[in-house]
């Protein structure tokens, strides 16, 4: 079917497109025209008015947990994709710490199959080692053939440096990055950031140096092997500095940060709210300042949610015993715009790079094109919409968010991809002439 999006501002930082108040005509889910449209051209065509809204290449979240297979009570590929679409994402890369882990071609194919009819593109990140045990590298060639876009033992770092070395060397044949959850487990037996707050709260501390040690080791190993390292959910000042120095030396390192790590400090743990528990833990204002600086100067390439659904039963426990992680799809855009755009830390172009362009580049995926004949893959954002987070409205199966009732400025309104549009809580099929 034909639809026209009216009066929208288009921003595509990669293609240097910046248009104000234009119209976009879609036909069969493809871009059919961009610019001024005549009355004849839109005669009888379904219209959407997006005055004051911006249209950007479809957002991409490169660090999410869809929990399927294994924990379908917390999330499935379908509910996760619904949540992603509601949050403004047209593509996601899902982490392999499922049960069983994503370490065979069959599981990669299974996940892709689950998402095949969904608007959201799902790209599995496969385990770097068999069963994420850190002992033997996974069958990476087969996994890449099946559709894996990167390798990670996320949840833990690859403990053994020899296995890490082989993972880098082997993955390099496919130019695939190794995504590392950087944490030295031998000194990371804690429940929150180690510091004055952990002392005051009597909670075991998780020191920032546990992250810094593995970031250092991984950067050195990436340099030695020529492999690609992607630092997942960077959270400390020292780690940001290490990545900055490594980039200057030309080492193939990239990094992501979650919205909660640039929004909240460990002060938020004072209520012992288990939705403030994640790994890496919430750090200090000094770390947030370093992260914002790293986002600004390009040290940190992207923003990823680390969407980690957990059941209410599991989260409703003593802080020390509660599982790590929070859901993030439906608050990421709002937090990024509120904390970074509206506080004048990053421009909208910089944000779009970090939320759409850079993650795709890191994973060797094509960037959506804004040209006639291209498949429409974009997100429409209202950067100024003031709204209140309401977990009961989340599309995700899980509601473990620390941001319930938080007032945010900026929200994704609609997503278009794979000949479908999701807007105003409705799915519309765009296929056919």
């Amino acid at each position: 079917m034909k639809v026209v999006l009216q009066n929208v501002d288009i921003i595509h930082p990669e293609e240097k497109i910046n248009l104000k108040g234009v119209s976009v005509l879609l036909n069969d889910g493809l871009i059919s025209e961009i610019g001024e449209l005549t009355k004849n051209e839109i005669e009888g065509v379904k219209e959407f008015d997006f005055s004051g809204k911006i249209l950007v290449p479809g957002l991409f979240d490169m660090h999410v947990h869809l929990r399927e297979p294994g924990r379908e009570d917390e999330e499935t590929v379908t509910t996760g994709c619904n949540s992603a679409a509601a949050g403004g994402f047209t593509g996601v890369a899902c982490m392999p710490n499922t049960e069983p882990a994503i370490d065979t071609a069959e599981i990669v194919k299974f996940i892709k199959e689950q998402a095949s009819n969904h608007l959201v593109d799902v790209y599995p990140v496969a385990a770097a080692s068999l069963g994420r045990k850190g002992e033997i590298i996974s069958p990476m060639a087969e996994l890449v053939d099946a559709g894996a876009v990167a390798f990670s033992d996320d949840g833990v770092a690859i403990k053994n440096s020899s296995v890490l070395r082989r993972a880098f060397e082997y993955a390099n044949m496919f130019n695939s990055p190794i995504i590392e959850h950087c944490e030295d487990e031998s000194i990371a037996d804690g429940a929150m950031n180690e510091g004055i707050n952990s002392t005051l709260l009597g909670l075991p501390g998780l020191p920032s140096v546990a992250e810094d040690i593995i970031v250092s080791r991984d950067i050195l190993m990436a340099e030695y092997t020529g492999g690609r390292i992607h630092i997942a959910h960077i959270s400390t000042k020292n780690s940001v500095n290490l990545v900055r120095e490594a980039k200057k030396k030309g080492i193939k390192v990239t990094a992501e940060v979650t919205p909660h790590h640039f929004t909240l400090t460990d002060d938020a743990v004072k209520t012992y709210d288990t939705n403030m528990k994640m790994n890496p833990p919430l750090r200090t204002q000094e770390d947030i300042d370093a992260i914002v600086k790293g986002l600004k100067d390009g040290t940190i390439d992207c923003i990823a949610s680390d969407h980690a659904p957990h059941s209410l039963e599991e989260k409703e426990s003593e802080f020390q015993f509660a599982p790590n992680g929070i859901v993030g799809f439906e608050t990421t855009v709002g937090l990024a715009l509120s904390e970074l755009l509206h506080k004048n830390k990053l421009s909208i172009e910089e944000l779009i790079k970090k939320l759409s362009i850079n993650p795709r580049k890191i994973l060797n995926l094509p960037i959506p094109k804004f040209e006639v004949g291209a498949l429409a893959n974009f997100t429409i954002i209202d950067p100024n919409l003031v709204w209140t987070v309401d977990i009961s409205k989340f599309k995700s199966k899980s509601k473990n968010s620390p941001f319930n009732k938080k007032l945010l400025t900026g929200k994704a309104l609609a997503v278009v991809n794979k000949k479908k549009i999701f807007f105003d809580d409705k799915w519309i099929d765009l296929s056919g002439a």
Partner: protein
Amino acid sequence: MALSIRHLLGLQGVSKEDIQTILDTAHTFREILERPIKKVPTLQGKTIVNLFYESSTRTRISFELAEKRLSADAINFSVSGSSVSKGETFKDTIKNIEAMKVDMVVVRHSAAGTPLYLTKISNSNIINAGDGTHEHPTQALLDMYSIRQKLGRLDGLKICIVGDIAHSRVALSNIFGLKTMGAKVSVCGPSTMIPRDINDLGVDVIYNIDEAIQENDVLNILRIQLERKAREYFPSIREYAKYFGITQERLDKNGKDILILHPGPINRGVELSSEVADGSNQIILYQVTNGVAIRMAVLYLLGTLN
């Protein structure tokens, strides 16, 4: 005077007036404990649950005795480990107990923050009997009461807490309470057992036990955990005893009258030599008796709030 708090979760943030009230009230109950008939009808008809998720002998008995002395109906509920391993969630356990109409809950739990969580899901008055490595307020209150009785004041006294500060709820509650009451607090122990950010709490750190003895009016000696996990923090019990243990020789050498407290149970020959543990400086059993009076005071003050 009535307390401004509804629960006793810790001593962080508790006002000087409230602490004063608890100590003064304990003093009147202390007198009752010397009578031939040690029971008063103050909390008759009140039901108090002692919810012990972590094993404890002396604290539980002390609370139970305090409850009985006040004529409250005391119920003991003991489980080991966390609620998770039991199958029933902690919240469900609490809801079940509360459905039986209780007035107060005394809680001991291995997880920090559990008493605060209880205040959110329960209508009872909550008393923290020790949560993880967070706080143990009644222990600190009985320590403070004992010091005040022996030395006549807290304000301006120099008090050093000795031992594993990083993993001690007794240390943290003592630091908060004593500082509020105007004492000068320091800590002494192996550097691996001192939290990195302890200076932010306004306490001095001493690594030399002789210096700690010379410079202070009171030493509060903590029990050293002897199990393997705790042993990661110091090389050997022998080395700990040699460099941080209090011996009579050390006290004599530093030649001054110093008051020695210990929350018990004591590792004789480790943090205290037997001579010191039974000597004239220590007030260990006096603390135990005062513990009942302090817990009576806290139960009475919270139990009679409207």
